[in-house]
């Protein structure tokens, strides 16, 4: 036993069985008497550290919380200092470190944007009146079903009640709003409701894995060139050119390399990646594999948020089927390339979607964003060259390789191809829509059945985006056009609010979201998001914002945007400032 110090709290049989069930026999760290953790042990400790999150998940699911004894057991098995393991356990929304005092499942109710205006609080109260254990929390990625719930199972699998239809008939799930009108057909959503998402055979019958075969015969550099010609940009929010990111990793000498699918979709108003993963999981597996073989990466990871049980099931199944068919693992498709994918489940934390925070989360640390530079392309997962791409970005790859330059036939010159948009709030048919980039906001809303009520404002890009007036309907939906008008596409979020909405309450919730989702690492964001929320709460009481408070909001916004470490702080004031600008909040009633 090394020199790790544990408290006297003992684990129970149930806790040990629970943890052992998720850790492979060789995951247990064996440190010999003569070994000091400082040198020999430290390397191996870090080697196993990424198993911390799965082990914590196991205790939470089976025992209902993470006790001191249970934490000690995990710390001992993985040789993680218990103070650090506790730091990780207390970081996540889905973990409890206090005995909940009951053995029921927990119903998480989303309190954010679309659910907020759809009566989330009343919904939560009704569930409580029904005897349910309710936890009010951040966006669950089901904005089209607002108000949304997610059931965190206790001794039972996690579930989303609204998934029942999809689970019952996986091959024909058509209730997603998939049509893009007469605009050149579907690419990303083409398989949805057509291909059986549980069947590799069905996926291949519809052209699946033709692209990977092509990629393997073209060679990595040719694929990167193709992606560059297609003009693919990231769909996670930042819109960075995918080929540049890839080229950076392809040119790096460090080994092994990693490619990661960022499936931690958590921006309020976003549910497109969930739709893709639930209904076309093989496309993500194929896309990630194409990314891997193109840059010469051996390891693929999918970091998926913990509130997506159906997507997790479908992806797990897809990975297994692909592996069995020789599409993953050693010698992929007989090409000589080795590539495999590990699915890693988060435990509820918006910040984990920030790419460097995601790296720390995968490594089993607190998901604090890292300073950049160095960028993940140079020093990513365990310090190795790493690509982090959004799910939708990766799902574009089979289409790009299949269509070649045809990919550019739709969309605009600077923003080619199609894009997924998540419409929710006061719109007739909330859902995920695929349209060519450059489609106007007005056309997009019409495709979704039009606005309901009299639209007062539209939130673009989610909580991290900004409000615009309803007179912006002529705005083409591209990164550059939205930027030009001082707003953003973000991850494709379009949330409509009619004139009955109490914007003071809405902004109170949005600022509370940022306050509670800040990782707390840097001062501008940790304190800034808190002070911003307090000013909005005070405004709710007073009814208006004084000149002094307006100045304070702007002062805080500038410091958060300028001095925060990551995008969470940079964008935390966008909704507030735009709401004031549009007169949605701030002026006397």
């Amino acid at each position: 036993m090394a020199d790790l110090h544990l408290t006297i709290d003992n684990s129970t049989d149930a806790e040990r069985i629970s943890v052992d069930a998720v850790l492979a026999p060789d995951a247990r760290v064996v440190i010999h008497e003569s070994e000091r953790l400082v040198r020999g042990g430290m390397a191996r400790k870090n080697d196993r550290r990424h198993l911390l999150l799965p082990a914590l998940h196991a205790l939470q699911a089976d025992i209902g919380w993470i006790s001191a004894g249970g934490l000690n057991y995990i710390s001992d098995v993985l040789q993680v200092p218990p103070a650090e393991a506790y730091g990780v356990a207390t970081f996540y929304e889905l973990f409890r470190t206090e005995d909940p005092g009951h053995s029921d499942s927990t119903v998480h109710v989303c309190m954010d944007t679309s659910c907020h205006i759809a009566g989330a609080e009343a919904f939560a109260q009704a569930l409580e009146a029904d005897g349910k254990q309710v936890h009010r929390g951040p966006c669950l990625g089901q904005c089209e079903r607002a108000p949304a719930q997610f059931v965190q199972g206790r001794g039972a699998a996690d579930s989303v009640p609204a998934d029942a239809d999809n689970i019952a008939s996986p091959g024909a799930f058509l209730s997603i709003q998939r049509a893009a009108g007469d605009t050149g057909g579907l690419r990303l959503l083409a398989n949805v409701g057509v291909v059986d998402p549980t069947s590799l055979v069905s996926y291949r019958e519809h052209g699946g894995y033709v692209a990977l075969e092509k990629a393997l015969s073209m060679g990595g550099q040719a694929v990167i060139d193709e992606v560059r010609l297609a003009g693919l940009t990231g769909r996670g929010g930042a819109g960075f050119p995918t080929a540049i990111k890839w080229q950076g990793v392809a040119d790096e000498q460090g080994r092994p390399k990693h490619v990661i699918a960022n499936a931690d979709e958590s921006e309020p108003g976003t549910f497109k990646d969930r739709t893709l993963m639930e209904n076309d999981p093989f496309a993500l597996i194929e896309g990630l594999t194409i990314a891997g073989v193109s840059v010469g990466a051996e390891n693929g990871w999918i970091y998926i948020r913990g509130e997506y049980p159906l997507a997790t099931t479908r992806l797990t199944n897809a990975i297994e089927q692909a592996r069995t068919a020789g599409l993953l693992g050693v010698d992929v498709m007989g090409s000589g390339f080795d590539f495999d994918i590990v699915l890693h489940t988060s435990a509820g934390r918006y910040i984990c979607g920030e790419e460097t925070a995601l790296l720390n989360a995968l490594e089993g640390k607190r998901a604090n964003p890292r300073a950049k530079p160095p960028f993940p392309q140079v020093s990513g997962l365990w310090g190795k060259p790493t690509i982090v791409n959004n799910v939708e970005t990766l799902c574009n790859l089979p289409g790009i390789l299949a269509h070649g330059v045809g990919y550019r036939l739709v969309g605009t010159e600077r923003s080619p191809g199609t894009r997924l948009f998540c419409l929710s709030g006061h719109v007739a048919n909330p859902g995920v829509y695929e349209v060519p980039q450059g489609t106007t906001l007005g056309e997009m809303i019409e495709i979704a059945g039009g606005a309901t009520g009299s639209t007062r404002a539209i939130l673009m890009g989610g909580a991290a985006g900004s409000f615009i007036d309803a007179d912006q309907l002529d705005m083409p939906l591209t990164g550059e056009d939205t930027r030009e008008r001082g707003t953003t596409l973000g991850s494709g979020v379009i949330t409509l609010f009619d004139d009955t909405v109490d914007f003071v309450l809405l902004l109170t919730r949005i600022t509370e979201f940022f306050k509670s989702e800040s990782c707390g690492q840097c001062v501008p964001c940790r304190v800034g998001t808190t002070r911003q929320h307090e000013v909005i709460v005070e405004m709710g009481v007073r009814g208006s914002l004084s000149e002094e408070r307006n100045t304070l909001i702007d002062d805080m916004a500038l410091a958060m945007a300028d001095a925060s470490i990551c995008g969470l702080g940079h964008t935390a004031a966008g909704a507030v400032q735009s709401a004031i600008r549009l007169g949605l909040i701030g002026s006397a009633l």
Binding site: A83, Y86, G520, G528, D555, D562, A563, I565
Partner: protein, 285 residues
């Protein structure tokens, strides 16, 4: 001050030329912007930075403007690059530094952090302009033994104690960051008392604390009695006599009593770090 003359005389390493506030300076490649600024005679406020720890760039008070960067950058950790154009006195820089200091002033008890208070005055901080009832960093003082106290009202979450306890010095890992957002706290596992934790009482966490949130019990008791008179204290340099490593000790003496023991951060043996014997084993004196 023009660094150029002194820099070219250096014998080792590649050098780069950067522009700071309009002046050209030649510094070693791999140096941080903070080092370059210091060499250029420019004072930069820092809280989470320490010369004997790897920068975590968490406090953001040292931010500077670098041309071509959308946001400000932390000078403590960003390496200089050839032809970098740096500004340390622009309105943006002053604004963010002021806001960071202001934020800390609204959240923490900075009464025993004179250096931070000086910067707060310099940057024109006004902590009275916030919403009523602003949440503060309140916790009762933790007194769990006769060596340390932990007064987390004063804690600005700079990570220094965590890093000194962990991989930067002590490899004990008794404390870590826990919680989330504004409720982040430095804590042992399940917040157990220090004597039950992995703590070995090296006191290195106290040595690096910038706000006196972590204190020697001796200092805390004297402060409670209103009898802590730092200006009257003498500091005697000596070498620890417990083993042969040769750690330099600085004995802080008040009224003929040792009240605190430190070691110079730039000392080649200790880097400012000591063990329990050097730090606390002086009761026999």
């Amino acid at each position: 001050m023009n660094l150029h003359q002194t820099a070219v005389e250096r014998e080792f390493g590649t050098q780069v030329t950067v522009k700071i506030n309009g002046g050209d300076f030649t510094v070693d490649e791999g140096d941080t912007i903070l080092t370059a600024c210091t060499q250029a005679g420019i004072d930069t406020p820092t809280i989470c930075y320490a010369e004997n720890l790897t920068p975590v760039n968490a406090c953001r008070v040292c931010v500077v403007e670098v041309e071509g960067n959308r946001t400000l950058v932390p000078s403590c950790s960003r390496p200089v690059e050839e032809a970098m154009v740096i500004s340390t006195d622009s309105d943006r820089v002053k604004h963010s530094r002021k806001m960071v200091l202001e934020f800390l002033g609204t959240a923490n008890d900075l009464s025993e952090a004179p250096q931070i208070n000086e910067w707060s005055t310099e940057y024109g901080v006004d902590i009275t302009r916030y919403a009523e009832g602003a949440e503060r960093f309140d916790q009762p003082v933790k007194i769990q033994d006769n060596l340390y106290i932990r007064d987390y009202d004063k804690c600005v979450l700079c990570y220094k104690c965590v890093d000194a306890c962990g991989e930067e010095a002590q490899f004990t890992f008794a404390i870590a960051m826990s919680g989330r957002g504004f409720d982040n706290r430095i804590s042992t596992e399940f917040d157990v008392a220090l004597p039950e934790s992995a703590c070995v009482y090296c006191g290195n966490c106290i040595a690096v604390c910038p706000t006196n949130a972590l204190q020697f019990k001796t200092e805390f008791d004297l402060r409670q009695e209103n009898n802590w008179r730092e200006e009257e204290q003498t500091v005697t340099q000596t070498v620890c006599s417990y083993c042969g490593v040769g750690c330099n000790l600085e004995l802080h003496v008040q009224d003929n009593q040792i009240v605190k023991v430190t070691s110079p951060a730039d000392h080649e043996v200790t880097n400012g770090m000591l063990c329990i014997k050097g730090r606390f084993g002086w009761k026999y004196v």
